[in-house]
Amino acid sequence: MRIYAFLGGMWGLIIIGGGLAVTVLGPLDLGAYSINAVVKGGVAILLVILWVFILVRLTRYIFK
């Protein structure tokens, strides 16, 4: 059951992460095309790092 709970948690994180990506990355517009791409890339990487960080916490919590 713990593995199922972990998969459910991963799924929830994907949905929430998607929401963050759409609300943060979507409206982000810094004018110049290249600057926009670099900043969006940076924000996306930060979101992925945050996602992995929370997943590690979730792993420790579920599997102790």
Partner: protein
């Protein structure tokens, strides 16, 4: 739509027929050339032919060509160079043990034709929240996605029939969503993948007569990635692959570096005299999905395979829910 649907059926049948027909002679050829490996989960270490990648590749490419001839969609054909390169990379790794970075790095290169053909949408669709347009960043998504998909499917290829069985379940879930979204060319590509996996499963299921090898699992994984990109269902495809992603995550979390499974010295599981699998309980050994399953108690190989496939059905249901949430 009738013609398109007929093309999809023909593509699927060709893919199934080629893999189903080619695999038995391939098994004979591989056995004659001593290209076989011991099945470590069987008594007396029975030898099993490897790799089945060329048969899977032939089936998928045959199906794609049929789909292209029927639809005229260049995007379908654009996936072929990437899939062929993935098979070659895997085949090299089947013949010679390569370092851990080899497959991920070269799969990035294999993804380049997909980027160059440009047959994809740069909108990333998320369930509930809608889409985000990331024109340049999406190229990075493609380049990262191919190694992740290929290696994730590779990491789950641990026992008889798991990789092919897993791809059938995940592929069906993605195909359902593509059909609901009306993305018929990507649906056709997904059906070709499911058909090839289904045909190969006949020989790969327990007791295996052939193993897919790295060439086979990379073809399956990369084709799955192509379906996700071409169909614009990246998130749904990732959700369907969650148990395999979790397996890779546990492994990386415990080992903390990219290495081949065969380079790991301490085993997370052991087999008793009756070939029943147990968790070693070794804190230095990597954490894997199989080890977590065995924490509940010892199981036979068939029992572990059933547990993994049950997890994949659970993930497939989550993927279908995610796809339906994309339509809200």
């Amino acid at each position: 739509m009738t013609a398109d649907f007929l093309t999809i059926i023909v593509g699927g049948c060709i893919s199934f027929g080629i893999v189903y027909g080619i695999t038995p002679p391939l098994i004979s050829i591989l056995n004659k050339k001593n290209m076989h490996v011991p099945d470590v989960n069987k008594k007396d270490n029975i030898m099993v032919a490897r790799p089945g990648g060329p048969a899977i590749l032939a089936g998928i490419v045959g199906g794609i060509i049929a789909l292209y001839l029927g639809t005229g969609q260049l995007a379908v054909l654009a996936t072929v160079p990437t899939i062929v390169m993935a098979c070659i990379i895997g085949y090299v790794d089947d013949l010679k043990v390569m370092p851990g970075w080899f497959k991920p790095a070269l799969l990035v290169v294999a993804a380049i034709p997909l980027v160059l053909f440009g047959q994809y949408s740069t909108d990333l669709e998320f369930p509930l929240f809608g889409t985000v347009n990331i024109p340049i960043l999406y190229i990075g998504v493609i380049l990262v996605m191919m190694p992740i998909m290929g290696n994730t499917v590779n990491s789950i290829d641990v026992m008889n029939g798991v990789a092919s069985g897993y791809m059938i379940i995940a592929g069906v879930a993605v195909a359902i969503i593509l059909a609901l979204l009306g993305r018929w060319e990507a649906f056709g590509l997904c059906i070709i993948l499911v058909a090839a996996s289904l045909a190969f499963y006949k020989y790969h299921r327990m007791p295996s007569r052939i193993f897919p090898g790295d060439s086979g699992v990379l073809v399956l994984g990369v084709t799955y990635g192509c379906v996700a990109i071409y169909g614009g269902v990246e998130v749904v495809a990732a959700v369907a692959l969650l148990p395999a992603i979790a397996n890779s995550f546990f492994f990386l979390y415990s080992v903390r570096r990219i290495v081949e499974h065969r380079q790991i010295k301490r085993s997370p599981v052991y087999r008793d005299d009756d070939m029943i699998l147990h968790d070693t309980g070794d804190p230095q050994a990597p954490i894997t999905l199989v080890r977590l399953i065995l924490r509940q108690g010892p199981l036979s190989e068939g029992g572990v395979v059933r547990q993994i496939l049950k997890l994949s059905v659970f993930a497939a249901i989550l993927a279908i829910i995610s796809g339906i949430m994309m339509m809200i």
